[in-house]
Symmetry: C2
Subunit: 336 residues, 2 copies
């Protein structure tokens, strides 16, 4: 058996893994010249694409993996429910792996998948993940991977996301409409796709409404809950403190409530809050929390469906597309 893989072919030819994979499958998306080059080298290096063997290998475990940063978060637990709803129907087991926001852990988990433990992978990236080598390594071994929520733009596969830019824009605009003079953005993990898009939506809304933007209006909180409490507390003790807050991570809404209580700031009187959250308790918080509610269940379902479509097509990888399912602004009392 040859141990040359698609990745080695791609590297040798200076092409992307996706292009090589498509060329080997004789896809109409690839030019005849490129196909020729790829197929020649594959023959020369003794690479034999074998859809039957690979499909057999894949179907052996009847198991898919879900790789997540954390589960103490209602978005992820709902997304898992969506994933399982699809997997059960297909007779598959779902294994959940937690990275706890660590790139090292994510790398170790993906490495482990190379042994054929699972047939396919659904992943939402850790907060530390910027490079994509570990993902490309696995993908190059013909492991179908589908991203959801926290995605990696440049791997040619299916990505299921929500409209992060538009949601943050909408939330910011809503606070401006409620007469907030200074709107702050609380976030974490500035390298993540979702953080970047939410920050951009927030900034765009400020500028569209002729609000000045200062870099100190974006508060990046550390992982550690106690430290992030202190960070938010410091921000709300500033003289020129925010009177409107976008909490772009679920648990930062709760932290902000606790800080306001300690500082005796009234919500929504002194500070208005919109949280990105799927908390089932949002409606019974004191005051009830205005949320950007993400379609977590539907996103999980869509990601799993894309993965099973690829598994069914035997050797094919998931389509290179971006599925966007919009979020909803649910107005409650925390914005007055």
């Amino acid at each position: 058996m040859s141990n040359i893989n698609i990745r080695a072919l791609a590297k040798e030819l200076g092409l992307s893994v996706g292009t090589v994979s498509k060329a080997l499958r004789d896809s109409h998306e690839i030019s005849a010249g490129t196909k020729q080059k790829v197929q020649d080298l594959a023959r020369k290096l003794n690479y034999i694409p074998n859809p039957y063997a690979s499909s057999l290998r894949r179907r052996k475990s009847k198991t898919i993996a879900v790789v997540l940063p954390e589960i103490a978060n209602s978005f992820f637990s709902l997304a898992i429910d969506g994933i399982e709803a699809v997997a059960v129907e297909k007779g598959y087991h779902v294994l959940i792996y937690l990275t706890h926001e660590s790139l090292l852990k994510e790398e170790a988990i993906l490495q482990d998948f190379q042994s054929g433990r699972v047939d396919g992978v659904l992943i939402s990236l850790s907060g530390q993940t910027t490079g994509t080598g570990h993902i490309r390594d696995l993908y190059a071994k013909d492991m179908p991977i589908v991203f959801f929520d926290r995605v990696c733009e440049d791997v040619e596969t299916t990505k299921v996301i929500t409209d992060d830019f538009e949601s943050a824009y909408k939330a910011t605009q809503y606070l401006i409409g409620k007469n907030c003079k200074r709107v702050g953005f609380l976030g974490m993990s500035p390298g993540l796709s979702i953080t970047i898009k939410r920050m951009e939506g927030y900034k765009k809304a400020l500028s569209d409404h002729q609000y000045a933007f200062n870099s100190s209006d974006i508060i990046l909180c550390p992982e550690d809950p106690e430290k992030s409490y202190t960070t938010i507390r410091n921000a709300l003790e500033r003289k020129d403190r925010f009177d409107g807050i976008i909490a772009s991570i679920e648990r930062l809404s709760i932290t902000t409530y606790l800080v306001c209580r300690e500082l005796q700031l009234s919500i929504p009187g002194d500070v208005k809050i919109v949280g990105f959250s799927n908390l089932s308790s949002a409606a019974i918080l004191n005051p009830s929390l205005t949320t950007i509610t993400q379609p977590a269940f539907e996103m999980g379902k869509a990601a799993a469906s894309a993965l099973f479509k690829a598994l069914k097509r035997e050797s094919a990888m998931p389509a290179n597309e971006c599925i966007i399912i919009p979020s909803t602004l649910m107005v409650r009392d925390s914005t007055g």
Copy 2:
């Protein structure tokens, strides 16, 4: 290779699996006569206990499984954190499997483990699990299993629990002390160890305080959230409705708040509530929720430690013991 296993030996001899396992390991806990009988039959049927092979098999995957009913529950997400804290230190992967409270699913998952996918199992039973055949089957194949929270009393292994009886007693007594005239108990899954103990603690507190107990004071909610909303709504629309409630499952507290809001019942004015819950938002609910706070993280840690102790000891199974870590009553505004 013989395919006779400990379970077959135990059945043949009319002994428990644990006794046979110990007899084969020449444990001092087993009488000389019984050891002789077990070892004779093992020889006759060609059963060869092989600690090295079994330890090798176990250590192969460097992976442990956590089998849970659900994760949209802060108890379980904290317990997982505790488990992972131990596993990371030992260089093990943790796989999470969800049963969604289904016995069938639990059986399929445990069946899957027989292939040697994992080295050991931590399990909290599904709400439907009463029989233990599927657990004994796996245990008889020398798979170390440790229970936490929702345990199976009669499998001879380590069980990590909290003081469910005492906590429910304490919660009920507290409501009685707050002048509640009729205290109701909301639960689910009446076959589970934790439900039974919590109901017993509740009933004992009633009787110790000369309160009459009617079977209609225990409301067993169905799995389905909407149906369970209706069940609680019906209970709170009764003329002789409760003025005190023990919500023995986290999400039933949230449902009760929502029902009270719809029926315009004031908490704590009309109804006082104590919830078994680890919700991080308990303190910022409207009103803040008095809880029985379980040592979820510590329970996960203790369960994982017991499992790794067994894995380290090579062929040995986890000790047959019950580790009890007490819960705490945290008084907040929902009880006045």
